[in-house]
Amino acid sequence: MVNRNNPGQTLLQVKRLEHSFTIGEEYVQALRGVSFEVKTGEVTAIVGPSGCGKSTLLYLLGLLDRPDKGEILLDNKSVSQASDQVRTELRNKNLGFIFQFHFLIKELTACENVSMPLFKAGIQRKEANKRARSVLTKLGLGNKAERFANKLSGGEQQRVAIARAMINSPSLLLADEPTGNLDSENSRKVFQLLLQFAREESTAVILVTHNPEIAEKCDQILRMKDGQIVRD
């Protein structure tokens, strides 16, 4: 589906994206014509004050929501208004998502959490678990693979969430403040992991961050304010 054989090629194009929603009775115009491009193997940071629409943009890029207007092109194919089936398949095979609060399933072990996207893609449990353990080992959690998610520390849980997002070698990895709840040491480690993953796998990484140090190390910075990109 998505071509990643040409590092530095445009993978994602976002055109005049607009989106609104309501929280309770409050109407929120979260995005007001956002446009940008992302290349394979590139790490992009989205920065801006709280409520400026960073996370909303990420959910739209992650195909978890549909924009009111505008277009999202993944490998030159419009996906913003694609069918549920196509979007679900893309989420499983081409997208990886890291949430701010790691969002693991506590009833499953670290290994099971990580292998879940592979299971879903139809890979046998044994093979999926083997690959999950291998990724966890790379992230320094090999000895904690069989622990239940809620028995891990905050940093460990976030690394498990990263492993889960990476397991399918997605072409686009979206991270919503992945270091937001981590100390500086863990933040640095997590960012290094993402950077290394982007370079090795030619994956485009988009991360929302409030950390200027991390943003500065990214290939591209998108600064947002009031639902618009003000400078990149």
Partner: protein
């Protein structure tokens, strides 16, 4: 193992207490349903067995002579399309007037497996100290054994005594108690015309009070002699291979021979309706346990649906479809239902067995010394069906709701 089943299994085991409560509700509901149905239908089946064993499946009696059919139109297929009748002045014929012809006609019915001619009359039974009015049944014993359970009902003496002795009598147990009679005692029977001294060949107990305190069996010629009726006046008690089809067969017989034919279902309609009402009533009562259990389960899954919105969002973000989310919930219901059914069947079987051993002397409409149960597996089928319906609904509604969760909205509201 499918992924959604695997996840469901994990969720079920993570909520042991709530799931166990639902599970026990289902087990209790199914087993209680089975046990109560086994009892009520057990009594009903036993009652049917008793009435078939005493009065047969079909009884053929009197008729009106068909002397007044004025107009009838018979179509090409041989069926009467319409007919005008006037019963006024029709001759009433008590009992069967041509028994041999009727017997021949009845043997042509493939389902008929026994025909017994019974001559019924009232008489007085006298001993040295007491007398009692009785209902005499004149029978040919070899024929009657084919259409009744008289052999099994004889508690004292034997059928062979009766076969050997033309002047033998088999009396009901309540009569024997009342007038203090034993096997081989002599009794005086006063009929309409004659008065004979007979010897008690046996004492029977059908369990039906009205029969046990009134009925006596003697040979057909002796009964006719006592009554002074040489011909006619008898009825036919008919046994059939498929008693449940008695109403249709009785209607065919009546249509063919013109005599009134009554099936056991028509004869015992009142009691059968009572049993039916009892069964339905107990089924409704017990189903409420299953309903409550279903409501409990609905609560568990509804709360889970609310609590697990975050998990649903995660699963949606890694490629789960709405149908996958639904099936995670539905599998949980199926898992609990499966174990509920297994437990319910085991407890139902065990409970029914224990109930069947409870000593309880019942006399009146049948005879039993223990609780009567019916081992009918359709009860299990019904219990499973009702439980599945309630659990299905209790799971399906929250599952449907869970599938509608919008991940972006949930994540936005969680943060």
């Amino acid at each position: 193992m499918s992924l959604t089943f695997y996840l469901a299994l994990r969720y079920v085991f993570a909520r042991k207490r709530a799931m166990l409560m639902s599970l026990f509700g289902i087990i209790f509901g199914i087993s209680f349903f089975v046990i109560t149905q086994a009892q009520t239908s057990g009594f009903q089946e036993y009652f049917i067995k008793t009435i078939l064993g005493t009065n047969g499946a079909i009884r053929i009696s009197d008729r009106f002579q068909n002397m007044d059919e004025t107009v009838s139109k018979i179509s090409q297929d041989g069926k009467i399309k319409f007919k005008f009748q006037n019963r006024e002045g029709a001759k009433y014929i008590k009992g069967i007037d041509y028994p041999d012809k009727i017997r021949n006609a009845l043997t042509a019915f493939p389902s008929v497996n026994g025909i017994s001619e019974v001559f019924e009359d009232n008489a007085i039974l006298q001993t040295k100290s007491r007398s009692q009015s009785i209902q005499l049944h004149g029978i040919k014993i070899s024929d009657h054994l084919l259409v009744s359970d008289l052999k099994e009902q004889v508690t004292h003496g034997s059928i062979s005594n009766f076969l050997r002795d033309n002047m033998g009598i088999i009396i009901g147990s309540r009569i024997a108690e009342r007038v203090n009679l034993k096997v081989n005692d002599r009794v005086n029977i006063v009929g309409k015309l004659e008065n004979f001294q007979l010897r008690v060949s046996g004492i029977f107990e059908s369990g039906v009070s009205d029969i046990d305190k009134k009925r006596c069996y003697i040979s057909l010629p002796t009964a006719r002699s006592l009554s002074g009726t040489r011909f006619g006046g008898s009825i036919f008690q008919v046994g059939i291979a498929t008693p449940e089809k008695a109403p249709q067969i009785a209607a065919q017989i009546q249509e063919t021979i013109g005599h009134r034919s009554v099936s056991w279902q028509e004869r015992e309609k009142v009691w059968l309706d009572v049993f039916k009402a009892l069964r339905v009533s107990s089924a409704i009562t017990v189903s409420s346990i299953l309903l409550l259990s279903g409501l409990g389960m609905f609560n568990v899954f509804a709360i889970m649906g609310i609590e697990k919105t975050r998990d649903i969002s995660i699963l949606r973000s890694i490629g789960f479809t709405r149908a996958d989310i639904s099936s995670v919930f539905l599998w949980q219901g199926i898992i609990v239902l499966f174990f509920g059914i297994i437990g319910g069947i085991i407890c139902g079987l065990l409970g029914t067995f224990i109930v069947s051993k409870i000593p309880m002397q019942i006399r009146g409409i049948f005879k039993s010394d223990t609780f009567v149960v019916n081992w009918d597996f359709t009860h299990y089928g019904w219990a499973i069906l009702i439980a599945s319906l309630f659990v299905g609904l209790a799971t399906w509604i929250p599952a449907r709701r869970a599938a509608k969760v919008e991940p972006a909205k949930i994540i936005r509201e969680t943060l």
